[in-house]
Each structure stands twice: as structure tokens, then as C-alpha cells.
């Protein structure tokens, strides 16, 4: 393990609440251990700000092991920072150099209103799921788990799509603020599995229409979403959603 430490200049978006407009503030941090995670670096900053009587930076975080999807910010222009397939909590300071200036901005999209500093409201993603991101089975009465054989490869493909943590980095990085990767991943997962087939048409129609209603942009195949996705979800899922939606529209 390294014990290197670095000094940093930070420029962080500070916004009091949804109603006020925000500004960038600059902060200096000295002797940041390279073994720290990005969020621990922010913790150190917040402890410092608190001791100085200043308002600490509000940011979302929870599991800090890259799975809950709560954390996220745009670091030097890239959602979740420079490391591929890494959430902000799993990004370590060793990927930065002494003297670096780091610009930290919230995920920006019309559908993600900023609540405070780096905290945004991503409930639009939940509403997309509520529109149809499920298989309509009640608890009880499910057939035996082995009743429908599912090819291992299909289960793996479904799992690739199901790995989405709903962090919203795809929306934040998309030049159009589109939520196609998020929506496509869920539609894909459920349309690949035989259990999800009966509702596939209704699901595709309902989820796409919910997505449009939330004010997300349209996909122009820029592939930024795939590049920043911490779980490496492929835009192949968007292609699959396109097929599902067109099939449902024309032959629904």
C-alpha cells in the first residue's frame, strides 16, 4: 500500500436549495492520502469546513462499496470520475496527482433537480420502474423455481442488464440528458427472461412513455452512457429496447 499524500485544489458546486442558483467555490486540501476514496476526501473537506464554521458540502452516499447507486458527481467533466466502471465511492485518490485542480459538479439533467450542493433528485428513475419495470406476480403461488428452464447464457445476459445500480450517471453524462440506458437495461432484463415475456409489450410502451414524460432527452447514440456506467452496461440494451418498443407499437 502506498502512503503517498497529495495536495489538491477543489472547485465544488455549492447550491443552497432547489430555488436558489448555485456557484462554484474553491477549497484547498493538504496532505490527502492516496489511499483515500474520493468520498473520504470529501469527508475530510467537510470536517475541515465544519471546524472552520462553514457549511459542509452535501453529497449523497450510502454503501460506499459501489453497489447502492446513491453516490455520484461529475468529476472534471466525467460522471463518477476518470476510472472506468467505478462509482465515486470506489474511486481512489491515487488516480490524482499532487497539485491537481478537481472540479466537482452535481449530475445535471432537467429530470434531476438539484436539492443541495451535489445532491440531486433522481426519483424520475423510480417512476420509470413504477410504470412497468416488474413482472406482475403476487406473492405466493409461484411455480417451482426449476419449472421453466432458462439457458445459462440467457440468464447471464439478463444479469448483465440487471446489474444496473440506478445511479443516474448515464443521464448525467448524456449530452441529451436521456435515460435510455437505464430504461433499456430494465426492459432488456425482463424481456430476455421467459417470465417477463407475457407483459413485454405493455411494459415497453409504459416504460418508454413514462421516460418521455419525465423530461429526459432523446438518445442520439453518443455512447457516453455506456462509457461512464459503473457496471459496464452495454448500449446493446438500448438497441433491444428500441426493438421491443417498435414491436409493441406496430404489433401491440
Amino acid at each position: 500500500m502506498t502512503t503517498k499524500s497529495i495536495d489538491l485544489s477543489l472547485e465544488i458546486w455549492r447550491q443552497k436549495d432547489s430555488r436558489t442558483t448555485g456557484v462554484f467555490e474553491s477549497y484547498q486540501l493538504k496532505s490527502i492520502s492516496a489511499d483515500m476514496s474520493f468520498l473520504e476526501m470529501l469527508d475530510v473537506l467537510n470536517e475541515k469546513l465544519t471546524r472552520e464554521g462553514l457549511d459542509p458540502v452535501a453529497f449523497d452516499h450510502d454503501c460506499r462499496e459501489g453497489i447502492c447507486g446513491m453516490c455520484g458527481a461529475v468529476v472534471n467533466g466525467i460522471a463518477h470520475g476518470p476510472e472506468p466502471e467505478t462509482t465515486l465511492c470506489q474511486l481512489h485518490m491515487r488516480h490524482f496527482c499532487n497539485g491537481d485542480t478537481i472540479v466537482i459538479e452535481p449530475f445535471r439533467s432537467r429530470a434531476f433537480p438539484i436539492r443541495k450542493d451535489l445532491i440531486v433528485d433522481r426519483s424520475a428513475l423510480d417512476r420509470i420502474i413504477q410504470a412497468g419495470g416488474y413482472i406482475s406476480v403476487n406473492t405466493g403461488g409461484a411455480p417451482d423455481g426449476n419449472a421453466i428452464p432458462i439457458p445459462s447464457a440467457t440468464a447471464e445476459l439478463a444479469m448483465d442488464a440487471a446489474a444496473c445500480i440506478g445511479c443516474g450517471a448515464c443521464v448525467a453524462s448524456c449530452p441529451n440528458g436521456a435515460a435510455m440506458l437505464f430504461t433499456g437495461a430494465k426492459i432488456s432484463q425482463l424481456s430476455l427472461l421467459p417470465q417477463g415475456r407475457p407483459e413485454r409489450k405493455e411494459r415497453a410502451m409504459a416504460m418508454v412513455s413514462a421516460m418521455d414524460k419525465e423530461g429526459f432527452g432523446n438518445c442520439t447514440n453518443e455512447r457516453e452512457c455506456e462509457a461512464v456506467c459503473p457496471k459496464g452496461i452495454s448500449i446493446r440494451n438500448i438497441a433491444r429496447m428500441n426493438r421491443e418498443f417498435v414491436k409493441a407499437s406496430f404489433f401491440g
Binding site: C68, R122, D126, P143
Partner: protein
């Protein structure tokens, strides 16, 4: 406090069926008249809210995160147990029951554990139907892996993200009910208080994390699914927001708290790097199958691991436990690692780590084989620590992981407060003094999908509660209590931070106090010392902590301060419970209770009970009650790993 377990009569295997037949039901048309509050949206909470709504109840669901999909169940990696016996290797409900009760070192209720094993199979079917992409064999059937504490292969998994996928299943069921209007979802709400009317749980008070508004909600029953309290130790594998507040507030209102000192400490976590460390990351225990645990023989040896010759290394697990070696159970491995570090032999920059060395396994099996088995774990380790386990030994250290203790519940999952239920990790019921791998997910979903709805129906059917509204004085008082408490928290911060401490400063101090004296190995002297130190720490918190900002705004420091205030109160019963239990069992070693070979010695004569603590008021000593455990179907046996 009356502790009536309400375990039904009859043979073990028939208890649940008989019980379901004998309990009251609510007619489907009448269910919409009943309101249920579910706090928490992890596996237990989300599955309970969805299931109750499907059956027709009006459900209000609350979560602390911005979405119900983020509850900490999501972080479970390994898998979920079920007695399907798909592998034809001799598994059965009886065996899953036995393994679980034995794994818990005979400190759980037979009837509850048996029921858990019974419904385990339904969970798998339910999750498959929901579209959970479990791993499959090439023939298309469900795949299984084996896990610690069992000799059969019964663990179902979805890569290393089983918890995530099961949670998404429950979240999708919940989302469907939100869409249908049967569940009203309240996100970014923290439960601050439980409201009782005529001794029954009738509502909660919450603080809106975004606006800081205090609001109350009324219902006919309240279900707590708020997880465990591992964060009392500051550093744990729990998520940052995991806390004891909901359970503790319920305890203060009269809910008994069972076995608070039963805290599981996981041996293979990535060690602490520095004082800034905010949480610990778990790595699969399977690493110990091929890794050899060692420390330098000489205390304070700072040489690189590669330059320490073989004869100057202490493979302490292999030496001490020749037959099990590096594969001793979690608690033994954890305890010994701490012992070595306390003796000054710890390695790494903080000297709080031991080596887990794969060099011999690589020599024996080749790099490719080892990478095939542990590639993703090695990657994860390297991502965090920047060191490649192929070239230098991993460093590991134990970390607080799961809390078996929780709110005491009877067979109907109801606490000692009528109308207040606790499910999932929040209750104490099924894991005794130690939880087996892949059993937490099973218990959360069993409670939520298959058990709680029957209990709720029975409660409504037999009590027929009157309607209440949140304009009642009890609700007004509870809201006021919360507001006063927030004012009290902020009171000391008016004059700025000079000479003050931050919330984390004090939380770290509490963490160290508990870790040092109430961790894997405890003794009377240490526990008494910790108990004596606690009031001063509490006083320091209320006097010296500085919280920036106001109450009616998004204020993360205030959130943490509120949780810490409850951890500080709660710590007292962790320590008292550890002090009262003068035996070694499950996860912990009581140093006074050891065999001649320095192994944990359980004392079934004096401690075959659940310790339940009753709150007596601020500054009053809590009262200990006991629920005796009787074993009619299994014979408690002593463990030995020599």
C-alpha cells in the same frame, strides 16, 4: 414486561401450518380499511410492503435513501439458502433448520428457525417468478454453491450480487404496488419517533431529510424493517446511513431489545488505512480456502512481507488449530487476528492487519487456477488497496458485519408493544448468537413475503383497532418531542465551532470504546470500564458537539448527530448485555468462560435464554428479562475446532 413467545403447540413440523389455520384472518373486502406503516425498504421491508398491499391493505412505506432500491440489503454478495435439495445431496427442511440453529450456537427459538427453513423454498420460487436472474446450469436449471456452516450445496446466487438482485425483485414488486396506489411511498424520510395510543403502536414521526420538516403518520399497525445497528462501532461493513434510531425509539417506548451484544464480526475485510476511514469493505470468506494467515513472529516487524523468512513467520491459525487451520469459523478467525494485533504483531501502516498469503497456493496450483477462483476478489482488493495479491500477501482484518440482536419479537414477529412488528435484521429472531452465511437474505424475505402478512391479519382480526388520526394529542406531543430534541442537539452550536468537536470525532470515540471492550472477546473488567466511560462520552456529546446549519433544511451533520445520540444511549445496553452474559457463545468469546484449550465455552445451564432489555427512563438502569429457550427437537452440542 411479559415475554410470551406465542409458539404454537404441536410437533415442530406442523406448528406453522396449524398456526396459520388457527389465527384470525381479515376478509379481503375489509383489508382496505386497515392502514399499515412499513419503515425501511430493504429485503424485509420492501417485500412486506408489497405483499401487504397485494393482499389489499393500505400501506405507507418509508425509506431514508432517495429510492427504496438503495437499502443496504443490496450489498449482500454471496447468496441465499433454501432447502430445495436440487443437488440431491441430502438437504431437507430439517437439515437447514438444524444447520441454522446449530450455527446460531443454540441461542434461537426452534419454532421460528424451523418456519424459516420451511418457507425458504417458496422464496426461491417467488424470486424466480419476479425475474431475478439467478445463476443457471447449462441445462437451464438453477445453480447452487456451497457456503460455510453447511455440508450441502444449497445456496442460490446471482453472481456476487445476490442481495442486489433479490432487493430489485422486492423493489419491483413494491414499485408495482406504488403504481397501483396501494402503497404510498415516502422517500428521504427518517423515522424519529414511534407513537402509541392506548398502548398500541399507531404511528410514527418522521423528519424529511430534504426540508427538515417534522411530520407524523397514523396507521393501525407499524412494521419496523430498519436493519441492524453495526454502525454503533463507527467502522463496520454497514452503509453509512444504517442506524439504530427507529429500533431505539421503539425500545424507549416500551419494546424489549433482545441480545444486543450479539454482533457478528467478519474476519476477512480490507483493513483500516487511516483515521479518515469511513467504512470497511467485506471480502468473501472463501479466500481462506487457499490463503494462509500469518503475522511476523517479532512484534513491530516493519519489513516487507517478502523479506520476512519462513521461520520468522507465525502461521498462528495453523499452529493453534491443526485440524481446521485457516478454515476455523468466523469468530475464531476474527478473535485470533485481533489477539495478534493487540500483541503488537499486526502488519501494514496501521498495524491493524494480518497477512493472507496466496504464495503457496499459487506455487501449488498455478496463477491461472487461483485467478479463476478469486479473480474478481483480487481485482476488488487491488482497486481499493493498489496492491496485487498475486505478488504480495493480502492484508485482512475483522470488521463488524451483522447484528443478530434486535427488537424482541414473539412467534408472530410482534414486539412487546401491541401493533409494533419487527422484521429482518431489525428483530432478533432466527440467528441466535451467530448468523450463517447466506441466511440473512433468507430471513429478510421469509419475514416479508411469507410470514408478516399472516401476523398482521391475526393482529387486526383479533384486536380490531379503532381509527385514529394524527391530530390526536399523542401525535402532537410526539412531533413536539422531535422538534425539541433537534433544538437540543443544535443548542450548543450557536457560538460557532471554537473548542468544539465534530459528530464524527465522538462517533469514532464510541466506536473504539465498543471495539476494544465489547468486540469479539470480552471480559468483565473491560466491559465495566467501558460502561463507566460511557456517561462521560454522552455528556461530551451533548456539551461539546458542533453541528453546523439549521434544523429545517437539508443538514447531513444534524442527521448524523441524531443517529449518534441514539447510538450513545444504545451502547449502554450492548455493554450491559455483554456483561450479563457470562458465557462464550456464537460470535463472541467471554474470556472468563473458556475451556482448558482456550476455546469458547458455552454455558447452557445458566444462559440458555434470550436476554431482553426493558427501558426504564433516562438515567435509569435498564431491566433484564429472560426468555428461556427450550430445545425439544435438537440437542445442543459444544463446538470444537482443534
Amino acid at each position: 414486561m411479559q415475554l410470551k413467545s406465542n409458539v404454537p403447540e404441536g410437533p415442530l413440523a406442523e406448528k406453522w401450518d396449524k398456526h396459520r389455520f388457527s389465527t384470525k384472518l381479515v376478509n379481503p373486502a375489509n383489508r382496505r380499511k386497515y392502514k399499515v406503516i412499513v419503515v425501511g425498504t430493504g429485503l424485509a421491508g420492501a417485500s412486506a410492503a408489497a405483499t401487504l398491499a397485494e393482499q389489499g391493505y393500505e400501506v405507507s412505506s418509508f425509506c431514508i435513501q432517495d429510492s427504496p432500491r438503495r437499502a443496504h440489503s443490496i450489498a449482500a454478495q454471496g447468496g441465499i439458502n433454501a432447502a430445495k435439495n436440487y443437488q440431491n445431496d441430502g438437504d431437507s427442511i430439517q437439515r437447514l433448520f438444524y444447520d441454522t440453529i446449530k450455527g446460531g450456537d443454540f441461542r434461537s427459538r426452534e419454532a421460528n428457525v424451523y418456519r424459516l427453513a420451511q418457507v425458504s423454498n417458496n422464496i426461491i420460487d417467488q424470486c424466480v417468478a419476479q425475474g431475478v436472474p439467478f445463476a443457471r446450469e447449462y441445462g437451464g436449471t438453477l445453480a447452487n454453491r456451497s457456503f460455510g456452516g453447511a455440508q450441502v450445496s444449497r445456496t442460490f446466487y446471482a453472481r456476487g450480487q445476490t442481495g442486489q438482485q433479490l432487493l430489485f425483485g422486492a423493489y419491483s414488486a413494491l414499485s408495482r404496488q406504488i403504481k397501483s396506489g396501494k402503497v404510498t411511498m415516502h422517500t428521504r424520510q427518517e423515522m424519529m419517533e414511534l407513537v402509541l395510543v392506548d398502548g398500541q403502536a399507531r404511528g410514527i414521526v418522521t423528519r424529511d431529510i430534504i426540508s427538515g420538516e417534522i411530520a407524523s403518520y397514523s396507521a393501525d399497525a407499524v412494521i419496523l424493517a430498519t436493519g441492524g445497528y453495526g454502525n454503533a462501532y463507527f467502522l463496520s461493513t454497514n452503509a453509512m446511513a444504517s442506524n439504530v434510531t427507529a429500533a431505539w425509539r421503539a425500545h424507549r417506548m416500551g419494546a424489549g431489545f433482545a441480545n444486543p451484544s450479539f454482533v457478528q464480526i467478519h474476519p476477512t475485510c480490507i483493513p483500516v488505512h487511516g483515521s479518515y476511514q469511513s467504512k470497511l469493505t467485506l471480502m468473501s470468506e472463501s479466500l481462506r480456502n487457499d490463503g494462509r494467515v500469518w503475522v511476523p513472529k517479532k512484534p513491530g516487524d516493519t519489513r516487507k512481507p517478502g523479506s520476512i523468512p519462513e521461520e520468522e513467520r507465525d502461521y498462528y491459525l495453523e499452529n493453534k488449530y491443526p485440524s481446521f487451520g485457516n478454515l476455523v469459523p468466523r469468530d475464531v478467525a476474527s478473535r485470533n487476528a485481533k489477539e495478534q494485533c493487540d500483541a503488537g504483531k499486526g502488519v501494514g501502516s496501521t498495524q491493524l492487519a494480518v497477512y493472507l498469503d496466496f504464495a503457496e497456493a499459487i506455487r501449488r496450483d498455478g496463477e491461472a487456477t487461483i485467478l479463476k477462483k478469486y479473480g474478481n476478489l483480487f481485482q476488488m482488493y487491488e482497486k481499493i488497496t493498489d496492491s496485487n495479491p498475486l505478488h504480495e500477501p493480502m492484508m485482512i482484518y475483522p470488521a463488524v458485519h451483522y447484528t443478530m440482536g434486535g427488537l424482541w419479537v414473539d412467534y408472530n414477529l410482534m414486539t412487546t408493544i401491541p401493533g409494533l412488528f419487527a422484521i429482518g435484521e431489525c428483530n432478533f429472531s432466527d440467528h441466535g448468537a451467530n448468523r450463517l452465511g447466506a441466511s440473512a437474505l433468507m430471513q429478510g424475505l421469509a419475514d416479508g413475503y411469507f410470514i408478516i402478512a399472516n401476523c398482521i391479519a391475526d393482529y387486526f382480526g383479533s384486536t380490531n383497532p379503532d381509527k385514529v388520526s394524527s391530530t390526536l394529542p399523542q401525535f402532537v406531543d410526539a412531533r413536539k418531542k422531535c422538534q425539541d430534541r433537534i433544538q437540543k442537539l443544535l443548542r450548543g452550536s450557536k457560538n460557532g465551532p471554537q473548542g468544539k468537536l465534530t459528530v464524527d470525532d465522538i462517533h469514532k470515540e464510541l466506536g473504539i470504546l465498543l471495539w476494544d471492550h465489547c468486540g469479539m472477546a470480552r471480559n468483565k473488567e473491560g466491559l465495566e470500564k467501558a460502561l463507566a466511560k460511557l456517561p462521560a462520552l454522552q455528556e461530551k456529546f451533548w456539551k461539546d458537539v458542533y453541528i453546523p446549519g439549521k434544523g429545517k433544511e437539508l443538514n447531513q451533520s444534524l442527521e448524523r448527530a441524531g443517529r449518534l445520540a441514539d447510538f450513545l444511549e444504545f451502547a449502554e445496553i450492548i455493554i450491559r448485555d455483554a456483561l450479563a452474559r457470562e458465557e462464550s457463545c456464537g460470535c463472541h468469546l467471554r474470556e472468563e468462560s473458556q475451556t482448558e484449550e482456550n476455546e469458547a465455552k458455552r454455558d447452557d445451564v445458566n444462559y440458555s435464554h434470550v436476554s431482553v432489555w426493558e427501558y426504564q427512563g433516562d438515567g435509569q438502569e435498564p431491566v433484564l428479562h429472560k426468555e428461556e429457550l427450550t430445545f425439544e427437537n435438537v440437542t445442543p452440542s459444544q463446538r470444537s475446532y482443534k
